[in-house]
């Protein structure tokens, strides 16, 4: 989960990474009580990094200009996202701007320190000059100093900037972050350092041991839930949806308790599978058969037995997500290898159709591909419902595509 700039800076400040005096602005009128002296920078608090070129950052010299600028920014969506909050921050005169990051590298399976002497808005240049140090063994400050020497720092800057990297690393470890980025780190003519913009990605798996982060990002979660809730009819109100990715073509929802991964697209076939690879393979087959996925959802049904009480509500949520949108004409369910739970699953699908009937909801046809379950029993139990039960994957895909036309 990505934090907003002002949330990231709150963590920086806690850890002793220097940040500028700043103030959170919820409404343009808050600027009348601004405690920071002008000139001031107003920054749209959205999740994308390119807000500068897209008009999300404005320098203002006085209250009148500030209020006007704030109104503009509040009404400017950046890659479809409207800011809920602005950050008003003091101006800083940097002599030099560095790029610094610590990120988990899934290939070397280690945190990696990244740095470039050319930081700032022009990320192309930063990327070209990027240097890296893999933190192979337990971190010690010399890893940071190695990066400093690689990016060409000299004299006292080696110690002062590597001290910032040490704190970034410490934050990464203490808060289980996937990424922490400072771009730019401003260096004043006197050699002082200042984190001017920052990005923090929290690891979702580890959230359970960081109640402080959950409360920090709590507002993000609930707001985004409301936004997305409107788009999906009939969702079980007990389920907590978290939208982790708001920009771009797709939007992915994670339901932490149930470990559902959901992606929405423009087609008319809802797709529900167990397993990431199987989901992608199924979407591939639908595309190859000229079908158009409306969405796809990966649900963890467990290679081993899940706690059964949660399975029902989890599946109901999942079925709501894949089927209850106007564009969806057919649902393709592809589950495999769940011998022990397949009877359970069949019952749940049966109950789901009954539930829809009981609230007079129109039903659409389902194709259920079942491998490793008791397929005969499924056909028997689901007879009379618009559910086609099949064992062969490609037959099931072709059937679903046919029904979607």
């Amino acid at each position: 989960m990505d934090l907003l700039e002002y949330q990231a800076k709150a963590l920086f400040s806690e850890m002793g990474i220097p940040v500028l005096p700043s103030q959170r602005i919820d409404y343009p009128k808050d600027l009348k009580r601004l405690k920071i002296p002008y000139p001031v920078v107003l920054k749209s608090q959205v999740h994308t990094g390119e807000r500068s070129s897209l008009g999300g950052i404005k320098f203002v010299e006085n209250t009148i200009d500030a209020v006007a600028a704030a109104q503009t920014i509040f009404n400017l969506p950046i890659k479809d996202e409207y800011p809920e909050v602005l950050l008003a921050e003091a101006k800083y005169n940097a002599d030099q701007e560095l790029y610094l990051a610590v990120v988990l590298d899934p290939i070397v399976r280690r945190p990696v320190l990244l740095g470039s002497a050319q930081g700032g808005i022009d990320t192309e240049t930063a990327m070209k000059n990027m240097q890296q140090v893999v933190v192979n063994q337990e971190f010690s400050p010399f890893y940071a100093r190695r990066l400093m020497v690689k990016i060409g720092l000299q004299g006292k800057l080696i110690e002062s900037v590597s001290h910032i990297v040490e704190k970034m690393y410490q934050l990464l470890v203490e808060k289980d972050l996937d990424l922490i980025e400072i771009n730019p780190l401003g260096i004043s003519p006197r050699g002082e350092v200042m984190a001017l913009d920052g990005k923090v990605s929290v690891n979702d798996y580890a959230l359970g041991r960081h109640p402080d982060l959950v409360s920090l990002v709590g507002k993000n979660i609930s707001n985004n839930y409301e936004i997305k809730q409107e788009q999906v009819k009939g969702i079980d109100n007990n389920s907590l949806l978290v939208t982790s990715n708001l920009n771009g073509v797709s939007s992915e929802k994670i339901i932490p308790n149930y470990r559902l991964k959901f992606t929405e697209l423009q087609g008319n076939i809802g797709i529900l599978c167990n397993g990431e690879g199987l989901t992608m393979a199924t979407v591939d087959l639908v595309m190859q058969a000229q079908g158009k996925p409306a969405n796809f959802l990966n649900i963890k049904l467990g290679d081993y037995l899940e706690v059964k009480e949660s399975l029902r509500s989890q599946m109901f949520t999942a079925l709501d997500l894949v089927s209850q949108k106007e564009n969806v004409k057919v649902v393709l369910i592809n589950v495999i290898g769940i011998v022990q739970t397949s009877d359970e699953l069949i019952t749940i699908i049966y109950e789901y159709f009954n539930k829809l009937k009981s609230i007079d909801q129109e039903t659409i046809p389902f194709v259920l591909r079942l491998l490793g379950g008791r397929i005969g029993r499924a056909r028997e139990r689901l007879s009379g419902l618009p559910v086609e039960v099949m064992e062969n994957l490609e037959d099931a895909v072709n059937k679903a595509v046919f029904l979607s036309k």
């Binding site: 990094g49 988990l104 992608m280 290679d303 037995l305 290898g337 022990q340 994957l393």
Partner: protein, 300 residues
């Protein structure tokens, strides 16, 4: 590496139900499950499998143990794995999903120092059909034979295994490396293991679109693997938009090397395999015929 019927295996788990189910499933496949480990439950039994509070107690009882299958809650996996390593185990399969990545980093620093093989987390583990199951592969999709499978997926692995089994192409070893972002062993390690495995004649590699491990595997295969390889990558047709941070794209670009364009990942993956003449299946059902072709070429 001990992946034989003699391999001594323990299951580390606290929720008796799931741990027991997995232990029994493994046992019924022929695996030599010598103990269950559950702190505070030492002295009990799981349907004939003795339970100990500590791994070292099991070692004291049965001698050197080869493999542990860990089914602990996600935040206790690191500790369980370190305990297994401290007790001298050299193979660990982590079934649990959702282990925090920095826990994995800690574990892997240790495992590399002690030369312990880690498979998972969030994996179905390893199956040697009719010989050994350390993990959760459903045995019914497998049959013994000469095809090795290495996969980043769980259920998709079963799909492929079933396609092979239906075509009377049995499997030597099938390993699911795990679906979590940071996993213990890589395509490279397992390509090497299967290359050296006498039972394996051909390797099926099942990849995904995300990440860069497939590109690395392709170049590794062309340089060091003697046996034929057939690849299948899921998600190559799916309309996915991957949102990377600068740092993340940079890392992908770096690991992919300069040969491949990291901006067009999907094409680059297939290109990487085609460049080194590894056949890439378009769908699971294509795999058996590609396997047969490759095997035939091998024996000409």
């Amino acid at each position: 590496m001990n992946l034989t019927r003699d391999s001594k295996v323990i299951v580390q788990g606290v929720t008796e139900k799931i741990s027991t189910q997995i232990a029994l499933m493994m046992k019924s496949c022929g695996t030599n499950v010598v103990a269950g480990i559950s702190p505070g439950e030492g002295g009990k039994e799981w349907h004939g499998i003795p339970v100990f509070s500590l791994v070292e107690q099991a070692v004291a009882k049965v001698g050197i143990i080869d493999t542990s299958v860990i089914v602990m809650p996600a935040y206790q996996v690191l500790d369980a794995a370190l305990e297994a390593i401290a007790s001298g185990l050299k193979q660990i399969v982590i079934v649990t999903e959702g282990v925090p990545p920095l826990d994995m980093v800690k574990l892997l620093r240790k495992a590399e120092a002690t030369e312990t093989l880690i498979v998972g987390p969030n994996c179905a583990g390893i199956i040697v059909p009719d010989q050994l199951l350390v993990g959760t592969h459903p045995t019914e999709f497998y049959t013994p034979g000469p095809i090795g499978i290495i996969s980043r997926s769980n259920t998709l692995t079963y799909e492929v295994a079933w396609e092979l089994t239906k075509s009377r192409l049995g499997q030597s070893i099938s390993v699911s490396l795990g679906c979590d972002p940071i996993v213990g062993s890589s395509f490279l390690q397992w390509l090497q293991i299967l290359d050296e495995d006498e039972r394996t004649e051909l390797i099926v590699l099942i990849g995904e679109v995300e990440g860069a491990s497939e590109e690395i595997a392709a170049s590794y295969i062309s340089e060091t693997i003697d046996k034929p390889v057939v690849a299948y990558i899921s998600g190559t047709y799916a309309p996915i938009n991957q949102n990377h941070s600068h740092a993340n794209s940079l890392i992908s670009a770096r690991v992919a090397g300069e040969k491949y364009d990291s901006n067009g990942e999907i094409e680059s993956k297939i290109a990487a395999f085609e460049a080194v003449k590894i056949p890439v299946a378009k769908r699971p059902s294509d795999i058996p015929s590609l396997v047969r072709n490759s095997l035939q070429k091998k024996y000409i």
